[in-house]
Structures are given as structure tokens and as C-alpha cells.
């Protein structure tokens, strides 16, 4: 009986989170369009609803009803599976993310590790999509993206080790609790820089949006996709942006905790911090050009890798000295 109840509660939580995430993602796209539009002297969506507020819904509906095209020479099974393989890991990760002190689906003691493991699977969908499309642009995009995401996963993984050493736990809740006094970003600025750059690369955002660089590869790995399958890629991209932002908030900015003198609920703090992160993502997109493939790799291996190793070494050394 207890078990059934547990399962039911978990199911309800999952239902809420998945749906809220999708809605939030839809509106994140809206916000991105608006912010970029205003950076570029445009208004952005204005037609559907007040200031285009219903635009995401209209877009969603449009994508639902669009014709679903599978290219003749595509590998049908893999082609259909690929968007799913991208979206599912992006959503599964939400199972362990702490949105506030009380609201989360589950907490496991390898939380952070779980997040890294599952989000590393997103690259499969991308590679599958690129290969199954049987198009050269898609294949090039997939190859780029596989190389890019694999490399930057390493830096991402190493950059979280610093905060982990300070917190002494892989459990996301405990990491947040460890920052009650001082956010780790002040202890770990190097780690944060590397984390942020790697996060941009992992989510394929400007200036690392090579896998889908539209001026070179048309749309990279999802060139051949349309309709709902395309929407899956889109959803997954923004969902993983949110995941990576949440991890950043948890590791470096004290998660849902805010300063004591401003009495706001934890969830509100979380949303504020998430919004700020997202804004930086969008801001960068409006400002920066794109790196070239070899430059991206050079930045990673010749600059970020030594930096993050230095950070781990320094953290260990200082922790040994002072704690």
C-alpha cells in the first residue's frame, strides 16, 4: 500500500515537473526572442496575444500539425528514435534537480553524478539524428557536435570537482546546504568560469553553436527534421539549458537559498537565479560571433583543461592547509 502511494506521489510530481518544464521551455523561447529582438532594435513576436504572449502556444500547435517528413534515404528507425533520445535524457535529469528545499522528485546521494551521466547521453540523439538523416550537412553537424560535447563534458566534469571537494557530497541538497554562508562562486571563481564556458558548449549555445551553425551547416544535425520531431530537438536544447543552469546555481550560487535579510521563498530565489542565468545565455547570443571548430577545441584543451586542473590542485591544497 505504502509503495503504491509512493509511486502515485512520484508520478504526480513527475507529471507536474515534465509539464511545467515544457511550458517554461516554450516561454523561454519567447523570452529569448523578445530579448534578442530588443537587442537588435526589433519588437519580436507581437501578433499573437498581448505583446505576443501566446506565441509559444501558437508555435507549439503549428509544430503539432506540421507535416512530418522522413527523408527517403533516411534510416527510419534511428531517424524516429533520435529526437526521443535527445529529449528523454534532458527530461530524466529533472528527477534529481532540487527546485527548493522541499520540491524535488527524488534525491539520491550521487545526484550530481547522475546528472552528468544522464546528460552525457544527449549526444547520442544528436549523433543518431545526424547519421540517420543521410545528409552530409547533418553528418558534419553530428560529428562536430559529438566531438564538441564529448570534449566539453570532460571540462564540465572536472569543473564541478572543486565545489564538490568543498561540499564533500554528491547530493545536490547537501551541496546547497554547504553554501549557506558563502556561495562557492567566491571560493571557486576558476571553476565557475570553466563551468560556464563548458555549459555554453554543452548546450550548443553561441559562441559554441557549431553543430547547428546555420550559416555553415544549414541547421546541422537537425536539418532534415520537421514538425514535432524538430520541436523535440528544440525542447531538449532549452530543457538542457535549464538543467545546466540549475546545476550552476546549485554548485556556485547557493541553489534556492537567498540572503537571510530578504525573506523570499526558496522557489522564488531559484527562479530569479535561473532567470539571470538564462538572460546571460541570451545576452551572449545577441553579442558574440561563433568560434571555429578548431578554435573551439583549442580553447578547450589548451586553456580550460589546464585551468580546471590547476583549480582542483589548488582547492585540494588549500583545503588541506586550512580545513
Amino acid at each position: 500500500m505504502d509503495m503504491a502511494l509512493e509511486v502515485a506521489v512520484a508520478a504526480i510530481k513527475i507529471f507536474i515537473v515534465v509539464n511545467v518544464v515544457q511550458l517554461v521551455v516554450a516561454y523561454m523561447i519567447y523570452v529569448e526572442r523578445k530579448v534578442i529582438a530588443h537587442a537588435q532594435l526589433r519588437l519580436g513576436p507581437m501578433r499573437v496575444g498581448w505583446h505576443g504572449l501566446l506565441q509559444p502556444i501558437a508555435d507549439g500547435l503549428k509544430l503539432f500539425f506540421k507535416e512530418d517528413i522522413i527523408p527517403d534515404k533516411a534510416d527510419r528507425v534511428v531517424f524516429v528514435l533520435a529526437p526521443v533520445m535527445v529529449l528523454v535524457p534532458a527530461l530524466v535529469v529533472y528527477a534529481v534537480l532540487p527546485f527548493s528545499a522541499t520540491f524535488y522528485i527524488t534525491q539520491i546521494n550521487i545526484g550530481l553524478f547522475f546528472v552528468l551521466a544522464i546528460s552525457s547521453l544527449g549526444v547520442f540523439g544528436v549523433v543518431m539524428a545526424g547519421w540517420a538523416s543521410n545528409s552530409k550537412y547533418s553528418l558534419l553537424g553530428a560529428l562536430r557536435s559529438a566531438a564538441q560535447m564529448l570534449s566539453y563534458e570532460i571540462f564540465l566534469g572536472f569543473s564541478v570537482i572543486g565545489p564538490l571537494m568543498l561540499a564533500g557530497s554528491l547530493n545536490l541538497q547537501e551541496i546547497v546546504h554547504a553554501q549557506r554562508d558563502v556561495w562557492f562562486v567566491f571560493y571557486q571563481p576558476l571553476a565557475f568560469i570553466v563551468f560556464f564556458v563548458a555549459a555554453l558548449a554543452e548546450t550548443n549555445r553561441v559562441p559554441f553553436d557549431l553543430p547547428e551553425a546555420e550559416t555553415e551547416l544549414v541547421a546541422g544535425f537537425h536539418t532534415e527534421y520537421s514538425g514535432m520531431k524538430f520541436a523535440f530537438f528544440f525542447l531538449a536544447e532549452y530543457a538542457s539549458m535549464m538543467v545546466i543552469s540549475t546545476i550552476g546555481i546549485v554548485l556556485f550560487f547557493g541553489g534556492w537559498e537567498g540572503p537571510d535579510f530578504i525573506p523570499l521563498p526558496g522557489f522564488v530565489w531559484y527562479c530569479l537565479k535561473l532567470g539571470a542565468f538564462m538572460f546571460v545565455f541570451i545576452w551572449l547570443r545577441a553579442t558574440l560571433p561563433r568560434y571555429r571548430y578548431d578554435q573551439l577545441m583549442r580553447v578547450g584543451w589548451k586553456f580550460m583543461f589546464p585551468l580546471v586542473m590547476l583549480n582542483i590542485f589548488l582547492t585540494g591544497f588549500l583545503k588541506y592547509l586550512f580545513l
Binding site: 539520491i108 546521494n109 553524478f113 551521466a117 552525457s120 547520442f124 559529438a146 564529448l150
Partner: protein, 169 residues
């Protein structure tokens, strides 16, 4: 309850590995191997080794298999599919299969069937899983661990040297 999950994961593992070795398309085989890793990770979780499960997914599925796919995709799969898949190695295969069967039979003879009471069914409840692993790895097994690292390092450098020579040529 857990035993059903176990059978589910184990059955899935066997099924996907069988499918994997019979596919003509290398990409499909590689993707099925990923699925196999997933089921294996599930078994690890059931066994209370969630760290191992995460490593399984992160390294094998998320890392190594992507590299496999990466290199497979650069090949011309269409040509490979049309190629002959069964080589005349029936006799060798038969001998190997018989030997393996004997081994399995011998091992299974040792194991008591029934309720596996020595397994701790725990999902995230045990506190010291990761810590215990770390402690053991860096104290008792430090030397083998370092030896393994150096071995990997050496092989990595070797691979780089080989690849670099090709590029320079």
C-alpha cells in the same frame, strides 16, 4: 518487486546483446550495445552500486560508445552493409560456444539458487556507497589503481603517436 526488475534488466540485456551481434548495420549494433549498457546499469542499481551504474552510463555509454559511433559514422556504412557478414568460421565458433557453455555450467553449479539474501536491495538508502568505494580505492587498492592509470596513460600516448604519424605523412 526487485526481482522482477532484475529479470527485466537481465532479460533486456540478453535480448539486446543477441540483437547486437546479429545486426548487419554497424550503427544499429552500436546503438543496441548502448541499450545493453543501460540494462547493465539497471542491474548495478539493483545491486546497490549506483556509483558503478552512473560510471557505466557516463563512461561506457556516454563516452566510449560515442567515440565508437563517431568512427563508425566516418565509414561508409552502406558499403559495409552489402558486404559479406558471415565468414567461414563455423567450426571455431562451435568449439568456442561449447567451451563457454561448459564454463557457465561449471560456475552455475557452484551457485545456490533461491532467494538471494546476501544482496542488499537498496536504492539510494545506503549512505557510504561512494565514500566506501573511494576509501577502498585510494587506500587498500591504491597501487593497482595507479598501475591501471599509468597503463591507460601509456596506451593513450601510444595512440596519439600513431595517429600523429599518420597526419604528418
Amino acid at each position: 518487486m526487485e526481482i522482477y526488475f532484475f529479470y527485466m534488466f537481465a532479460g533486456g540485456m540478453i535480448l539486446t546483446s543477441l540483437l547486437m551481434i546479429t545486426r548487419a548495420n554497424v550503427i544499429h549494433a552500436a546503438l543496441l550495445l548502448v541499450l545493453t549498457f543501460f540494462f547493465l546499469a539497471g542491474v548495478f542499481v539493483l545491486a546497490g552500486a549506483e556509483f558503478l551504474a552512473a560510471v557505466q552510463i557516463l563512461l561506457y555509454a556516454g563516452g566510449i560508445m560515442v567515440l565508437y559511433l563517431f568512427s563508425i559514422m566516418l565509414m561508409n556504412v552502406e558499403v559495409a552493409v552489402r558486404m559479406r557478414q558471415w565468414h567461414r568460421q563455423g567450426v571455431v565458433v562451435l568449439v568456442a560456444a561449447v567451451l563457454l557453455g561448459l564454463e557457465i555450467w561449471a560456475v552455475l553449479g557452484e551457485v545456490e539458487f533461491g532467494a538471494p539474501k546476501q544482496w542488499e536491495w537498496s536504492l539510494g538508502a545506503t549512505p557510504g556507497n561512494v565514500e566506501a568505494l573511494g576509501a577502498v580505492l585510494y587506500t587498500k587498492f591504491l597501487f593497482p589503481f595507479e598501475v591501471a592509470s599509468i597503463l591507460l596513460l601509456a596506451s593513450m600516448i601510444g595512440a596519439i603517436v600513431l595517429a600523429k604519424r599518420t597526419i604528418e605523412r
